[in-house]
Symmetry: C2
Subunit: 401 residues, 2 copies
């Protein structure tokens, strides 16, 4: 017998811990591995042998872990670069030292690239007893091949709910007013688009289309003329045709070559006020809260995330199972249902799945029926949240113990 | 028999509609009034005879109304000024025309001043059959006499939960980082202070104390040295000793003589980065969401708000009941419980109840045990929220029908 290791990478989500809980629970149902290690702070911590033992997690802790947002094992933005061979060697050494046969790694594009790179390295070195399995997670929902990504739906549900609630707020006064809700979404507009599930969004601005100031302001003006209000949702990653971000003034770089955005909402506000399109404009940037507001998880999302971890563990009994990501496939049935499947992590690494152009209505006027059919089943259902003294009960992060 | 009228004023909350639901339900249990009118957009709409009939609201609609955030009747910031006698005359005319004996008015300081002014006017004119009753609501919790204000606790619960969740998010990376959560609270720090219920807040900055830059930055530095992180909560209304707002650059005026704030979080961020106290700082401004995030109402709050409306209606059977506000008094029992009482609206009008100085720990290090004892019972319990297609079911605002 040998051990396995589960770790988390990239930006957290509301259900990322459910995948870890799934791996742990699967091993309790069928102890394929002696020990289930948790790696702290992703690859960064594993390289420093920062491991915890999750094998005997109680059912109660497992349940609370599933409702705990953010990465309970900690995360990292450290990327294994193929030219840094010493990192690969060190990682294999750690796996050998702790007799770790399988590494389960949850994350987005970059993490799937890590899984692909590690399995390629092992194959090239003839190492057959160290295996690497990716589990997708990203609120951005921008991974290829999988129908959707665990984490997205809970963020989408929070965004749609908050859109509805803030729309009710902004309408109570008779005065002229534009409300701008800013969501995450650097390259893909899935989160911004999901606000339309509220049914109240007037205009939605996605990064998939170059921003046309004149067309947008004309639509705001129409709304104002019609009802003295306009409810706008904008994705942080919206760009002009020349590639500059709306939020260009504030753009920085996160060291991965990704721009750190923020401020698209304020850029829209400034446009509206400077041009006199409306006399009043308020901005709400959902910021960090949208990816960690686990008190309103989608039941579909958290259950799929948990089962995906179980599926990854169960598939890893196959000794040839490496360099794979476990994904979610939507069944072609009237009632929403999914099946899990495996694909090469390299099919997912470093690609971006955009919100489909054909799902975007002209003039920022929302999304198509096909988009609603895709999105609506994902936000259904609410898990019972275990509370403690008026706020949700959460596990203490393992990296703080 | 005669009729009554219920209307809403000021900034909305997550449970303000429950008071309206309580007035309507009390009249169904004991039809003291023939018709329960709803006045649209507060005094502003009443002066223009914009009324709806709420008398026969179904139990199902009543239940959904209780979970609907913001003012379902619409709100206004129109203030009856004592020198504008024609407004008072017009209002009495409207009440006469529709045979309205009692006006129930929900709101904050300004609304209680309206109640006081109207009852004084009626008394001065010898009008005895038009009565005025105030129902407190404000997320700011800054009304005198009442133990607390309906609306505050649900916002406090959302803020404490969001603090916990974003703290879990900011801790996942090992990098040095300060997180700043900005809450509402122009003059009173109740909302910012309630973030401490999460148990994770390092530093909380309230408007009750002049901001001392040096002391604050020294405390941030201590946190960074100790754990490389610092979690800060700041109220929008924080001022320097000379009275200028931290967010001074962005301060405007709402026409009531109140400054419109926003940006205290960014002011703190700039301070921290400019002085090199920490290398990274993220700000989340909870903005509008904190006062309308009704999907996580406090059960205590929504039930008290409903009962307060019932109590106001029931007390109004007394023909001498006018110029009063119905408040909440905490019983002196081990188990949290309240009783409702009435006070003159003039006792409440235009005063502000600050967060007690003796509840503030030195050096921004949180709040006292007495503060926790006051706050904790208010955020307990969660109502069952009726959902529809993945998001909460809400009534269509009456002003849109």
């Amino acid at each position: 017998m040998s051990n396995c290791l589960v770790a988390q990478s990239g930006g957290p989500s509301s259900v990322i811990n459910a995948t870890v809980a799934g791996v742990v629970k699967a091993n309790q149902l069928n102890p394929v591995y002696d020990t289930v290690y948790g790696g702290l702070n992703g690859i960064e911590g594993i390289l420093n042998e920062r491991l915890v033992d999750l094998t005997h997690m109680s059912e109660n802790e497992n349940r609370i872990l599933r409702q705990t947002p953010s990465s309970a094992l900690g995360s990292c933005r450290y990327k294994l670069k193929r030219e840094n061979v010493q990192d690969f060697e060190k990682l294999i050494q750690v796996m050998e030292k702790y007799d770790i046969e399988t590494l389960f790694y949850t994350g987005g594009n970059d993490s799937m690239d890590t899984v692909a790179a590690l399995s390629e390295y092992a194959a090239a070195k003839g190492i057959t007893n160290r295996r690497f399995v990716g589990c997708p997670k990203t609120v951005d929902n921008d991974l290829m091949v999988t129908d959707h990504c665990p984490g997205f739906a809970s963020a989408a549900k929070f965004i749609a709910t908050t859109a509805m609630q803030t729309w009710l707020d902004v309408n109570v006064y008779t005065r002229q007013e534009v409300f701008v809700l800013e969501t995450m979404g650097r390259d893909a507009g899935w989160l911004a688009a999901s606000s339309c599930l509220s049914g109240i969004v007037d205009l939605v601005v996605l990064p998939e289309q170059p921003f046309n100031k004149e067309v947008f302001l004309a639509e705001v003006k129409k709304c104002i003329e019609e009802k003295n209000k306009c409810y706008v949702v904008v994705s942080e990653g919206v760009r002009y045709a020349d590639g500059t971000y709306l939020a260009a003034g504030e753009a920085k770089n996160d060291g991965f070559g990704h721009a750190i955005l923020g401020g698209a909402g304020n850029a829209i506000k400034n446009l509206i006020l400077e041009t006199g399109t409306a006399s009043r404009c308020k901005v709400q940037d959902l910021s960090t809260a949208q990816r960690c507001h686990a008190s309103e998880q989608s039941l579909v999302d958290v259950e799929e995330s948990f089962k995906l971890g179980m599926s990854a563990h169960m598939r890893s009994m196959d000794k040839a199972f490496t360099g794979k990501m476990v994904g979610v496939k939507r069944k072609d049935t009237a009632e929403y249902d999914v099946e899990f499947f495996a694909t090469d992590a390299s099919n997912v690494a470093n690609h971006v799945k955009n919100f489909p152009a054909e799902w975007i209505l002209p003039n920022y006027r929302g999304i198509s029926d096909a988009a609603y059919s895709y999105l609506r089943p994902l936000i259904q259902g609410e898990p019972v949240i275990i509370m403690e003294n008026g706020i949700p009960a959460y596990v203490k992060p393992y990296y703080m113990r």
